[in-house]
Symmetry: C2
Subunit: 308 residues, 2 copies
């Protein structure tokens, strides 16, 4: 099944203990779609400026990602500058220039309308909602957000959450959004806001999937934990969360049935894709990746965590 994703396509300047890169291709929708493209068809909705050229376009084309929903307009692409010099788990943002995203009005190409899966990548919740409302009939909607929207745009975000089946956020975001330091209690509070399924990413410690229980099925498959691989060298964590989301949602979209077992494997594929993303700057590793490498790492993750 095809996934439509809306989110940023951007340039990032990144500094980590491994070095510095100026104006890499980046953005949540870019990482998500590269990652998901290993599992299913992906269609992107975004806006770019005149600085987005053939070289950037080619990155999407190499993975057969549909870019007809990327609007080209006057101005410059979204730009982010950040560093991870003190803490590889948390970026320090130096610059965020919305540029062409400031006046973005997402439109859904006709060819995208039959997408059964929709991913609302981390972006202004007003834009997330605008896309969600234009695609009311999708089968499964997942989304991401960040502390900035949770703290300063809560009302708009709460509207988005009502329309989500799955929310993917990190620990801190889950605790802030759920208003509780205890992860299980925070998860319950977040799921009460809309999403029946919550994926909380713990960075190098993996991720936890929470399914809200139903009156008929109070205990089944409520919690699942997937590992992350302890990496010896983390070159650049930018986009690891979006790559996790791409592996997770891309795998789900590739499955005939959304069984509990499919969700478990999706969590593993999410962790696998997140671990690859950190191995090189920007999208470099996702661009060079093969499906065989993904499946080999899946097996490695299984060995890393299974009793037998």
């Amino acid at each position: 099944m095809a996934i439509t994703v809306v989110g940023s396509v951007a340039f990032d300047s990144i500094e980590t203990p491994a070095g510095r890169r100026e104006r890499c291709l980046g953005g949540a929708a870019t990482y998500f779609s590269l990652s998901a493209s290993f599992f299913t068809d992906v269609r992107v909705i975004a806006v770019v400026g005149e600085d987005f050229g053939r070289r950037q376009e080619a990155v999407f084309q190499a993975r057969n990602i549909d870019t007809r929903g990327i609007e080209h307009t006057a101005g410059k692409c979204f730009f982010w500058e950040g560093s991870y010099l003190e803490n590889l788990n948390e970026a320090k943002t130096h610059t965020t220039d919305l540029n062409v995203f400031a006046a973005f009005e997402p439109k859904i190409p006709e060819a995208y309308r039959d997408s059964e899966f929709l991913f609302l990548a981390n972006i202004d919740p007003v834009l997330q909602r605008c896309v969600r409302e234009q695609m009311p009939d999708v089968r499964l909607v997942a989304g991401d957000t960040m502390n900035y929207w949770i703290n300063d745009h809560r009302t708009a975000l709460l509207e988005v959450l009502k329309g989500l089946d799955i929310l993917l956020i990190n620990d801190t975001e889950a605790r802030v959004l759920g208003g509780n330091k205890n992860l299980v209690q925070a998860a319950r509070a977040v799921m009460a806001l809309g999403p029946k399924t919550l994926v909380v990413k713990h960075g190098e410690y993996g991720a936890t999937l929470f399914h809200s229980s139903t009156p008929e099925n109070e205990t089944a498959e409520r919690i699942y934990r997937a590992p992350a691989m302890p990496l010896e060298v983390v070159v650049d964590p930018t986009g690891a969360g979006d790559s996790f989301a791409g592996g997770f949602f891309g795998y789900l979209a590739s499955q005939p049935e959304l069984t509990p077992a499919a969700y478990r494997r999706a969590m593993f594929y999410g962790s696998v894709m997140g671990s690859f993303a950190c191995e090189r700057f920007g999208t470099e590793r996702l661009q060079s990746l093969t499906r065989k490498e993904i499946d080999d790492r899946f097996i490695l993750f299984r060995e890393l965590t299974h009793l037998d």
Copy 2:
């Protein structure tokens, strides 16, 4: 196989968001031995004061723990007072009174001499070494330590590490001791100091086992990750790490062969015992626990993390 453990037997006054308890029975050797006693015979070496009475003794007796190595002397037991009001993952220490431990000279009872397993719980490395040297022929030696000894008693600690097969510490301790923020690199640096196996505990995120590779066997079983269960209510994390160590080492001591599979199951039992310890204040939960509850939670942990 019997385990001899040396460490503190103490009284703790503890404050957590769930409440406050004055002078609970505590200490690393207490938690370790209660936890390990579900798997194998345990013998304790410690020193207590006149405030250690029949009620405290009965806690050990109820689990058939050999207390002949607990020396009774004039004075008061080791006393610790701490709180977890802001952060359940890290205690804030208010008081540490060594009391009878200040002049402790550990002696090994004759009846303990055939122990094949030795655990050096978190205590002054000078005392750990003293016990280690009195038991040169044990089959497997594991130990614990903390930042205080790593930072301020490094020379004495390094001597202890040379005599350890397995070291169990937490993330922060591994990074400080290994002098590296990257966990994999820190683990390698720590293993170069002596222990061939390192268990790094990540609190609510589980634990990672590192085996140092040998020239003959460079990749086999080098890393294994065990989960922790996301707990809805953490009443008191005191002793969770010692209880982890008790489950881990107790299970290993119960096994006929120390295979990689045995280490994997030991990691799971460690996580299981750590999770129980947090459910009540002090040693309460370990005292009421049954082997059936332990095995049920083992199965739950398997379901929580396994693909099928």
